[in-house]
């Protein structure tokens, strides 16, 4: 029995229907061949799970002090060391896997809720930066001339500052706070995306399929958004994944300095900043939030590296 051939399916020279191999399929297959990318994806999946279910996973309220918890068996002390029943903590004491913080709150619950905020920070800033940067880069590359010159010179000036310092300066102007910190980090990371998109647009602009669209009467908007930008997506995805990692690090640094998320928000950087003078007496309050930041950043870095290798057209024959 001959296999049914769908109408419009592509056939090879022997008449067999060709399996469509999308870029997405190749990428997925290549990603799954890299151990480091898998590690990154697993950590990220766990973090996303924690972020989505923090309100179920967290044993206590992240903001309410233990003094206000009804039915709490003992009188809790500030910055109490971790108490884990499995590791020999007396069972009559309430369990606090990561101890209590300076305001007598359960550190573990706060760290769990922090995942929510950090992932949000990463995605929000990078989304903002990608949209703005891609738009600027696309205009710059497509129109060229004075538009290109003026946009790219502004980007050069932005790139001339060490990113954290510029973010600090911008937050000063806008005033401290989480949203302003996000905006500052977003602005600081725009040039990277603008450059990436501009470079792709410059190379794609001259290709035959773009000329064909123009010859068929396609307008600028159509050419730019339907023909050119989708083809510039690959480097943008890689840059974006790695960008999330550095955005999370910078946001944590701003919060650490008191310029980002304000207490009592459970944000890892600000939790670390609040307890940094207690590092010798209560190291657990510094240790755990830092590990959480490092793990999150690590997962995006590993995934970004994996994506770069998987999406690299020079490796196309390896699929």
């Amino acid at each position: 029995m001959t296999p049914e051939i769908q109408v419009g399916a592509k056939l090879d020279s022997e008449g067999k229907s060709l399996q469509s191999v999308s870029l997405w399929n190749i990428t997925r297959r290549r990603l799954l061949h890299r151990k480091s990318a898998i590690v990154g994806m697993v950590i990220l999946a766990i973090l996303v799970f924690i972020a989505l279910t923090a309100h179920w996973l967290a044993p206590y309220d992240p903001i309410k002090s233990m003094l206000d918890v009804k039915g709490y068996p003992i009188r809790p002390a500030k910055r109490e060391a971790p108490c884990i029943h499995a590791f020999g903590c007396p069972p009559d004491q309430p369990q606090h896997i990561m101890g209590l913080d300076g305001n007598i709150r359960d550190e573990f619950s706060r760290v769990l809720y922090g995942a929510r905020l950090s992932l949000f920070i990463g995605f929000a800033t990078v989304t903002f930066a990608i949209f703005t940067g891609a738009l600027l880069g696309a205009f710059s590359g497509y129109f060229g001339g004075w538009i290109d010159n003026s946009i790219m010179r502004v980007m050069d000036v932005l790139l001339a500052f060490p990113s954290l310092l510029l973010a600090i300066a911008i937050v000063t102007v806008l005033g401290p706070g989480l949203i302003n910190a996000l905006l500052a980090i977003g602005i600081v990371s725009i040039p990277a995306y603008a450059r990436v998109v501009r470079a792709s647009v410059l190379s794609i602009r001259e290709m035959d399929f773009v000329s064909a669209t123009r010859a068929l009467g396609g307008d600028t908007v159509q050419i730019l958004f339907r023909r050119i930008l989708p083809n510039a997506l690959t480097p943008l995805i890689v840059q974006g994944t790695l960008g999330i990692a550095s955005a999370i690090l910078d946001a944590a640094a701003l919060s650490f300095l008191g310029l980002g998320a304000q207490p009592p928000t459970p944000e890892w950087g600000s939790m670390l900043g609040a307890e940094r003078n207690q590092v010798f007496t209560a190291p657990h309050l510094v240790f755990f939030p830092g590990v959480a930041i490092a793990l999150t950043v690590l997962s995006f870095n590993l995934l970004g590296d994996g994506l770069r290798d998987a999406l690299d057209p020079r490796l196309a024959h390896v699929s």
């Binding site: 060490p162 310092l165 510029l166 600090i168 870095n301």
Partner: protein
Amino acid sequence: MTTYILRRILLSIPVLIGILFATFALARLIPSDPCRAMLGEKATDDVCDDFLRRHGLDKPISVQFAVYLREVLQGDFGRSFRFSMPVTEILIQRLPTTIELSFAGLFVSILVGIPLGVISAVRHNSWVDVLTMLWANIGISMPVFWLGLMLAYIFALTLKGTPFQLPPSGRLSPGLITVPFYETWDLDPTSGTLTFTILDFMSRMNILNGLLNNDFDLVKDAIVHLILPALALGTIPMALIARMTRSSMLEVLGQDYIRTARAKGLRQRVVVMKHAFRNALLPLVTVIGLSLGGLLGGAVLTETVFNLSGVGRILYEAITARDYGIVQAFTVVIAVFFVILNLVVDISYAYLDPRIRLE
């Protein structure tokens, strides 16, 4: 080569003007009244008008920018509202700390990063390679301030009493008296002259001052205090440098001329160091130059964690106090430094690779 250098220098001038304008605009956009921030909320309008006039803040923005440009070109960054002393003077006092710290951080990162990268490229896929790359990935993911605090905890508290104990804060042990080297040398420069400024600037770098003074106790003490901050600050660039060295070396080691060198019977060390490493150096220059920018940003955090009174720390303090002069001056100085650095990187690139300057 000269044309290339000249062109690169000319190209960075618009960027420098852009930096000056950006910092000027940022400082003017700060949504608060500098007068009331400095003199207190209860300052009367009369007092404030006088204050604004005295600092030239009542003039149109364009005039303020022109005045600012002229002053900056003369090396005058105005006076700090808060410390009521010239900002340039504060810069001279604070910059040496940051320079010392940044160089120490860079030193650590190059000294460890390059050998790690070379070894893991030569022993590709061995356990050394796997461990190095694991460490490099973790290294670029750690927040500087957390690493600093953890290092302080480990080396100042956990290892207390062992020979590995290190001080967690400050630049020198309390009670240690430092004499500027120009005094022991009987140079006796007049205060306020350029010579004095330069000598004073140099003497504030403790290690340099100790060396020039033959005071090795001071040098040792300064180095001991620098180890932890330099480790904290140097880890991220170290990881970047190790990764870059590795991938660059791997690429070069696959080239035909390496096979030729091996076929000639050259020793492994000669092949790796002379044939491969020299050619792998090029991309490294860029990474090292770019990491210095990151180092300057990281210095703010490191100085805060280790209580070092450098540029980064005062910049942060000035921002909370809304001290325009200092914010402007420090951002300008750091950004200009960064631009010059990139210039040097580009030029050394052209020097190392003749193909670039011929374009």
